[in-house]
């Protein structure tokens, strides 16, 4: 029984971190209708930046802060350098998709270059800051608790930002109709860049949290987790923040249960199995609204 509870706790903690990555996908998709394949690489980049600043003996917290800033700027750069010109040219959607794939190639392989970080796995400072404690029969590691609490707080802040502030209003307007938002005096390009910045920053935090939990990083660590988090975003209904949280939790818990009871090979594809089932039953995801296409 307490094996089950342990698995659930593990799943919920991981799920919250997935939710944090999923939110980044969700926000970008909401505005641009684009799967940002560079997001997973951004997550890896965030983790590597933490590693880099920690190795400069800056301390864990300042390192994470700097990493958030760097990843946010990187995301901003990707948008400004590669995606904004494509938007101006009104390129075909697949060109934008391939551009993000190219960007993820650049980041991932840049991280694995010998003189910089090398492609080998590296140890990451543990986030298990307060050891572990036992409630009843169940042991909870403090890294799990930190992961859960930090992700929860950040998701709450993001929700407030989107729903209660002026810039959030502008984001929602842009999401609904770019042209109309532009006519209402919203600087759409700024909003999109801001969204990318937020996405990069949340990815970096998730990178720090999950790496602190597993205590290992590698340049390609972002690709699979990125895809999983993306499925989580779609499962919950892409473009909807609380949908990403529910999706992340569903994926995280299902994954841990599958690993525990079905074997470790089932763990990674679990997200996609759920994804396919949900999409076939409800094509817009659990909480997704049905878009009306006009002729």
């Amino acid at each position: 029984m307490h094996a089950l509870i342990g698995t659930l706790i593990n799943g919920i903690a991981l799920g919250m971190a997935y939710a944090l990555i999923a939110v980044g996908y969700s926000m970008v998709f909401g505005i641009l209708r684009l799967i940002n394949f560079a997001h997973g690489a951004m997550y890896a980049f965030g983790a590597y930046m933490v590693y880099f600043f920690v190795s400069l003996k800056l301390g864990l917290l300042p390192a994470i802060m700097l990493s958030i800033l760097m990843s946010g700027i990187l995301a901003l750069l990707i948008d400004k350098v590669a995606l904004e010109p494509l938007r101006k040219k009104k390129s075909i959607p697949i060109a934008t998709l391939i551009t993000t794939v190219g960007m993820s190639f650049i980041i991932q392989n840049f991280l694995s270059i010998e003189y910089i970080f090398t492609s080998e796995k590296k140890g990451f400072p543990s986030l298990n800051l307060f050891g572990s404690f036992t409630v009843g029969n169940v042991t909870i590691q403090s890294s799990q608790l930190i992961m859960f609490v930090v992700a929860l707080i950040l998701l709450a802040i993001l929700t407030l930002l989107v729903n209660k502030t002026k810039i959030g209003l502008a984001m929602r307007a842009t999401e609904q109709n770019v042209k109309a938002a532009n006519l209402m005096g919203i600087n759409v390009n700024f909003i999109i860049s801001f969204t990318f910045f937020l996405g990069g920053a949340t990815a970096a935090i998730a990178g720090a949290l999950i790496s602190g939990y597993y205590q290992v990083i590698s340049p390609t660590m972002g690709s699979l987790i990125g895809l999983k988090a993306f499925s989580a975003a779609v499962v919950g209904g892409i473009g909807i923040l609380y949908g990403s949280v529910v999706g992340g939790l569903v994926v995280g818990v299902a994954e841990c249960l599958a690993a525990q009871y079905l074997g470790s090979n089932v763990r990674d594809p679990m997200a996609f199995v759920i994804l396919i089932i949900i999409l076939i039953i409800k094509p817009t995801g659990l909480f997704g609204k049905k878009g009306i296409s006009k002729v």
Partner: protein, 354 residues
């Protein structure tokens, strides 16, 4: 004014080239056939031969995906899944059931096509990005099944000792150029098939769906049927390519040969070469297969450069290197020509009687 003249000139050049190829297509095909068939006998190194085989294989994969993405406009990110199904069915039939390679290859293609049919069904409910996501998930699920279903697929261990293909006592392998001949025949057949599909009623329906699905429906095209057909054809070609891959990879395949990265690689072939063209697939495959070999001196940097090139390509030539629209006049079918002539004659008759 000068600019306009220049434009006409450049357009004229493209037209001239296309016209040249169109006029001498018989001679060009014969020359191509002679050159292509003589390649194994001019003593190229093993590495070069292997490279040529890979170019042929990826041309074929590109053409398969192109049917779906280039013509029908359905973006699939899961073609590694079909590739894996073709490879595994072909390999397992040979190793465990002792089936002849050629039959196994065909069955692999058919099974893959059938799975394509199943995956095509959600296209009735999903469109655009959501469809891409389902295909992406499909690829991962295929991976899981290959890894998990150990009693049949040998799991992570992979299928080993896959025999070399034989025909009338002749064994095809890398050294005697047999692999090259097989993939040459397969790729040419695929190219011809794609060419005929493109110029048929089916192909026109595919392109109509890509351009505007709603308008296509209004013109009486059963869009869902054609979308599923595109999936089946595309999966069939990819499955055949997978079956071929299973024998050339040193008689050994494992689930990690068919990851999401392969899907992306096939997609890159299609995009770099030129969406919706057959010449583009061969070109894209050549570029992407040559790239890691030519830029070996860059070591790990080459994959960074590869990403940079993809990004630059999308910025400045999103239609792909050879992705131009044909400037030749539209070729009408024989029946249409007959009908037109009849109408012309009738009009002449009418004017004469007046």
């Amino acid at each position: 004014m000068d600019k306009v003249r220049e434009k006409i000139k450049t357009k004229g050049l493209l037209f001239n080239i296309e016209h040249f190829f169109d006029r001498y297509k018989v001679i060009i095909s014969v020359v191509f056939a002679v050159v292509a068939l003589s390649v194994p006998f001019i003593g190229l190194s093993r590495a070069t031969m292997r490279l040529l085989v890979m170019i042929g294989l990826y041309s074929m994969l590109g053409m398969g995906l192109n049917l779906l993405v280039g013509y029908t406009g359905q973006v699939s990110l899961g073609h590694a899944g079909f590739y894996a199904i073709g490879a595994y069915v072909c390999a397992l039939l040979q190793v465990d059931a002792g089936v002849n390679f050629w039959l196994a290859l065909l069955i692999g293609g058919i099974v893959s096509g059938f799975v394509g049919f199943l995956l095509g069904l959600p296209t009735l409910r999903l469109s655009g990005t959501y469809l891409s996501i389902v295909t992406l998930g499909f690829c991962e699920v295929v991976q899981m099944i290959l890894k998990q279903w150990e009693s049949v697929t040998y799991g992570n261990y992979g299928v080993r000792n896959i025999p070399k293909p034989e025909l009338f006592g002749f064994t095809f392998n890398q050294q005697n150029g047999g692999f090259y001949i097989i993939i040459l025949v397969l790729a040419v057949l695929t190219a011809l098939g794609c060419h005929f599909i493109k110029n048929s009623k089916t192909g026109r329906a595919f392109i109509a769906i890509k351009e505007d699905e709603l308008a296509a429906t209004m013109m009486g095209i059963k869009t869902s049927r054609y979308k599923i057909l595109a999936f089946v054809l595309s999966a069939f070609i990819t499955g055949i390519a997978g079956g071929f891959y299973s024998v050339i990879n040193n008689g050994y395949i494992e689930p990690t040969n068919f990851t999401f990265n392969i899907s992306i690689l096939i997609m890159s072939v299609v995009i770099v070469g030129g969406l919706g063209t057959i010449r583009g697939m061969v070109f894209g495959a050549t570029i992407l297969m040559l790239f890691p070999e030519v830029f070996r001196f860059l070591n790990e940097w080459r994959f960074v450069i590869y990403g940079v090139l993809l990004v630059l390509m999308m910025q400045f030539r999103p239609q792909g290197a050879l992705g131009w629209q044909s400037t030749l006049p539209y070729r009408l079918s024989k029946e249409t020509k007959k009908l037109l002539e009849k109408k012309k004659a009738a009009a002449e008759d009418a004017s004469r009687t007046k």
